[in-house]
Amino acid sequence: MPIFFFVERTCGVAAMAQDVVVETRNLTKIYRDFWGRKKKTALNALDMQIHRGEIFGLLGPNGSGKTTTIKLLLGLLFPTTGDAYVFGQSSGNVEKNEKIGYLPEESYLYRFLNAEETLDFYGRLFNIDSATRKKRAAELIELVGLGNDKKRILREYSKGMRQRIGLAQALINDPDFVILDEPTSGLDPLGTRWMKDLILDLRKKGKTVLMCSHRLEDVQDVCDRISILYNGDLQEQGVVSKLVEDAKRMQLQATGVQLTDELKKELEAVIVKHGGKLENFGHPATTLEDLFLRIVEESRARPGRRYQAPMEATAAGPAMPGQ
């Protein structure tokens, strides 16, 4: 049924719980062609809440509706039906953007500006006064590690550097709610770790973060709750630790003891006695990311450090193609 919208001052404010930052109600986006025919349902009746102070992850394969959801929240797209509210205000209301920081998937920044000019430009858009703008820009440039490159125009930046300045522009207004679309895209492992630490730091400061990423390990590392989308439909939603927990299996970790055959037999006997079955024994492996970071840290601490090949490998030499 059609309706006339009589817009008055109070419009666009939804009744939401105090700790809810984002709420979508039956949020649907259908793309249509020039003639109004349905092309694709990008998002279908999404109901979702993001609470204050949490890191929320949006997961899903390409075309699942993650970025569409973010664009709907930011007012870059208009919902076909349903509504999205941020801080209790409709997504169409630009005033809500005062408290939002947004890092797009690609750093869509003006490449003819340098880092300082970029932050100054976005600071002005937030109507921040000159002194505060300068102070905050300087702090953020240092934070993202671009102090030496702040006078270079963005066209000369690498993808990782653009991602860093993109993050700086997202934080220029000291936002309460930060939206990060593929934040670790284009970053090396060091940058990825730095980004993840920064996201965790934002949570410590009481900020709310919404991130979507293809890198599941990143999401698992930092997110409190996640939603999994597939083909525009919400498939799963909940606390990360609960969702990934395998309640049918048990894990033991111990230090200060040698893993001998005798110990194995004794432990197996105890498990069998309690009706279980021992599946595997072994030393826990670190992640490749941890290994990489440890080596880089050591290299920094000991300049001149080089890889020493094991003696037998050196003697035999590397295997050549065709050998």
Binding site: C11, T81, L109
Partner: protein
């Protein structure tokens, strides 16, 4: 106007003065209000189609306030009243009558005049109500605009333009300066300045308007394509701030280009110098007082002769001692500055001579110029072959002659019976001389002054001095008739020659200002054009692809140069009728001037179709910018002052033209899904 055909200021339309403002505001309310009404109705209908399930987020795109609804209803009522008046034939706009004009005849453009008749009044009120309705969300949004954000977007556009290096194109402007036209073509010395101004203005137009079109049409679409706009619109930025900020940024950077080119052009003129003859004719900024032109012969319906020239801007009076034909310039009011502190007023003129016979070598034609006031009524001769006009009161004329002789005898110490010819003495009297003082006394008393035997040449500026007494006579006493305060009647004495005149060909010279002042003022007209081009381009680019926006804006602007033709089509005064009439003529192999048969149903059907076509063209014509009103090239190149008042009007009309476009951009931008 463009470049003058004969190297003279062609005044086929007067510039807008502040006195035209009320009429122009009314025309604006009628035209823009009509579009506003359509927009308001479309918008309300669109709001009606939005499903209730989309309530909250749609409020920001298609919200309808009670104020908008009330305005829409009121406007509809007023438009209904207009239709009722139109069909019952009441309230016709007699102030701005629409009548058939001979499409071949030269007609001077007359701006809309303020009318209080029923029909225009209803259209004005209806239009204003519609504009208030459609403009309310726009106005409310304007209150949210913050200077810092606007400046940010403007500065961004500015830097984008500078760093894109597109503006190096301005350097091309140096080419005509490095390689002056006089090196390549044979230009008359007196036309040197005209040519330089014309060439530099041409280059400036191209070099400014082309980059303006490109920059402004591609800016926003590129932002959307590259998705830079995502990082902007996710800030607390009003969408109109982006449109207006872009506009300001591009106008800013192009203004610098305009200033640079104007200054460089001026430095070129200043350093290269101007030929003495050119300086005498055009290196000045005359402040003219212009009058109206009428023609009169023995019979009152004389409108000047058409000598068959294709360009019929000028009409001709026959030259012969026995010719009663006069071209008469009438001045209804005399500005106080014209007579202050001097004993004469220069009168300048430039006429065309259409030679029926070869004439005498190196000899121009002779004129009689008679200046009279409302206190000295002149009558045309009643008898054939009588070429002299008479004083209404012959006794007064005799008294004038006697007094003139007496004063001159006294001045020269002659006896009462000595012969003296006042006409000859006064013909050679110079301002400041004792004879001139006598002349001033006489003209102040009798309101009459005549110059006999003034020789002129084809299209060559000439001047005569008119005693200030004439104007004192015009200002004295209580005016008892509706005659103009001062009339200047010109007669051609040379037989076999026709004197071609137009309204702008003769004027009283109030004073002269510096050429440089006029030169820089003329750049303001180009700046207004620049604003229009950038404005249209930015607005169209809010919804159209860059190339389409560019083509659309270019077509819109260039249509301004064809406004005369479009107006003819809109008013049904086109030479060959509308497209229907043209088709019929083509099929029947009729000439273009053949008239339709009013009894033929086919002709009637096509004429109706042409009527609908004219109506549509009229709507299009309302959207076309009045580019000619911003052209001051002719003024500068011909050595005329560009009045400050007209510059103010240029600014007002530019704002008036762009405002509806900006309202349109507000709605287009608000309804656009930039990430779709």
């Amino acid at each position: 106007m463009g470049l003058s055909l004969f190297g003279l200021l062609i005044l086929d339309r007067d510039p807008y003065f502040l006195s035209d403002l009320p009429g122009l505001v009314q025309a604006w309310a009628i035209d823009a209000g009509g579009f506003g009404m359509i927009g308001l109705l479309v918008y309300i209908l669109y709001a009606l189609t939005i499903p209730a399930a989309q309530a909250e987020s749609a409020k920001y795109r298609a919200g309808v306030t009670s104020f908008m609804l009330i305005m829409a209803v009121l406007a509809l009522l007023v438009y209904a009243l207009y239709l009722a008046m139109m069909f019952t034939g009441r309230g016709y706009d007699y102030t701005n009558p629409k009548f058939y004009v001979d499409p071949n005849a030269f007609t001077k453009y007359v701006p809309h005049k303020l009318s209080f008749h029923g029909q225009p009044l209803a259209l004005t009120i209806g239009g204003l109500l519609a504009l208030l309705g459609i403009g309310q969300p726009f106005a409310a949004n304007m209150l949210k605009i913050r200077g810092r954000r606007l400046w940010a977007v403007a500065k961004l556009s500015f830097k984008e333009a500078i760093r894109s290096k597109l503006l190096w194109v301005f350097l091309i402007f140096l080419l005509p300066i490095l390689f002056p036209a006089r090196l390549y073509s044979n230009i008359k010395p007196e036309n040197e300045l005209r040519s330089t101004i014309a060439i530099s203005t041409f280059f400036m137009n191209i070099l400014l308007l082309a980059p303006a079109l490109i920059l402004a049409s591609f800016g926003l679409p590129r932002d959307i394509k590259d998705q830079n706009i995502f990082t902007v619109l996710t800030k607390p930025v009003e969408r109109f701030e982006i449109v207006f900020g872009r506009f300001l940024g591009y106008v800013g950077v192009l203004t610098i280009g305009l200033v640079l080119m104007t200054v460089v052009g001026w430095l070129f003129l200043w350093t290269a110098g101007v030929d003495e003859k050119a300086a005498e004719e055009t290196y000045k900024a005359r402040v003219p007082v212009r009058g109206g032109l009428k023609f009169q012969s023995r019979k009152t319906d004389f409108e000047g002769t058409n000598v068959g020239r294709e360009f019929d801007y000028r009409r001709y009076v026959a030259g012969d001692p026995s010719s009663p034909q006069r071209a008469i310039w009438t001045f209804n009011s005399i500005p106080s500055g014209l007579t202050a502190g001097r004993d004469y007023v220069p009168c300048e003129f430039t006429f065309d001579i259409f030679r029926m016979t070869k004439g005498v070598e190196n000899r121009g034609v002779d004129l009689i110029i008679r200046v009279t006031t409302w206190q000295n009524i002149q009558l045309p001769p009643t008898e054939p072959r009588d070429g002299s006009w008479k004083w209404e009161n012959p006794d007064k004329e005799a008294e004038y002659q006697e007094e003139a002789k007496a004063k001159l005898r006294k001045l020269r110490g002659l006896g009462a019976t000595d012969d003296v010819n006042p006409a000859t003495v006064f013909r050679f009297a110079e301002p400041g001389s004792p004879e001139w003082d006598v002349l001033n006394e006489l003209t102040e008393k009798y309101g009459f002054y005549e110059i006999v035997g003034k020789e002129i040449f084809d299209y060559h500026p000439e001047s005569v001095n008119i005693p200030v007494g004439i104007f004192k006579n015009a200002s004295s006493g209580f005016k008892t008739n509706d005659l103009p305060a001062v009339s200047i009647a010109v007669k051609c004495q040379t037989g076999g020659q026709m004197l071609g005149v137009a309204e702008g060909d003769l004027y009283l010279l109030e004073g002269e200002r510096l050429f440089v002042e006029s030169y820089f003022r003329a750049a303001f007209g180009l700046w207004c054009r620049l604003c229009i081009v950038v404005g249209i381009s930015v607005v169209l680019s809010t919804y159209l692809a860059a190339v389409i926006a560019l083509l659309g804006a270019a077509a819109q602007y260039l249509a301004g140069y064809a406004i005369d033709h479009i107006s003819d089509m809109a008013s049904g005064n086109s030479f060959a009728g509308g497209p229907g009439r043209a088709l019929v003529s083509l099929i029947r192999a009729e000439t273009a001037t053949a008239q339709p048969d009013p009894k033929s149903s086919v002709d009637k059907a096509f004429m109706f179709g042409d009527g609908v076509f004219s109506w549509l063209v009229r709507r299009v014509a309302n959207m076309v910018p009045d580019v000619y009103s911003y052209s001051w090239t002719g003024y500068v190149s011909e050595g005329f002052n560009v009045p400050l008042e007209c510059m103010v009007m240029n600014l007002i009309t530019t704002i008036g033209y762009l405002l509806p476009w900006f309202i349109l951009s507000f709605y287009l931008m608000r309804s656009r899904e930039v990430a779709a």
